[in-house]
Symmetry: C2
Subunit: 114 residues, 2 copies
DNA sequence: CGCATACTGAACCATATGGTTCAGTTTATG
DNA sequence: CATAAACTGAACCATATGGTTCAGTATGCG
């Protein structure tokens, strides 16, 4: 259960940066080298490499170095867990709000009778 | 579009901590005071207050202080955006993998004809 | 070989994060 | 009124994050 939590930590943390979300979208269109990505997001090679490292660590991206070039591509579908967490939580959330809706209805009735 | 990105940053960042995810789940069951939450997660009041602050900042939680007690409850459904981003991305992801399947097929054909 | 390309690693920097303690303030309650 | 409870804010700490520069290493190409 702890590992599961850590995986979620890593996934959500990886998604919490706009540049990294952009990289994921970019890689959704086509594989790219570090240089490609660095240029697209106007950043140094070193900086982009760190972002890719974070994504790779989270399992969202895989990379392979062939010759001089490291090619980045989308990794296995690690977002399933994150999506599942949100989904599970939304159900809970909805249940909670349904409860609140009832309270609101109750208040409306009361204000009318005043 | 920038605000939208920042909202996503905040949502995902808020979810990237196991304690905060736990707080959300806890609040899904019932509203709670800072003291309640601090005890549940074995943490100082001050520490918990910071976590609640992060969740509130991200719009995932709202709080109201009545008398001495600040009551925390789930906020408006801010996770919709986050869920939507992941969902949109998953479609892209699936498309990408389908595409790759096609490329693989293409390569198989070529290698046969060579 | 010689040079350019593509990446890598170390070091550095400013700021953020996750936590603490300690010293208040405000609000019950006996 | 006195004391306890519940929170708040400031200060501090260690570590992480997001970025840079600089100095390499490894590879491809003419």
């Amino acid at each position: 259960m702890v590992q599961y939590a850590q995986a979620l930590d890593a996934s959500f943390a990886a998604l919490s940066d706009a540049t990294r979300r952009g990289v994921l979208e970019r890689l959704g269109r086509a594989d790219a080298s570090i240089t490609d990505l660095a240029e697209t997001f106007d950043m140094t090679l070193t900086g982009m490499k760190k972002h890719v490292g974070v994504l790779e660590q989270a399992g969202l991206v895989t990379t392979e170095k062939i010759g001089r070039v490291r090619t980045c591509k989308l990794g296995p579908r690690r977002l399933e867990e994150a999506a599942a967490w949100i989904e599970r939580f939304r159900e809970l959330w909805d249940a909670r709000f349904d409860e609140l809706d009832q309270v609101v209805e109750e208040l409306k009735k009361r204000s009318k009778s005043r």
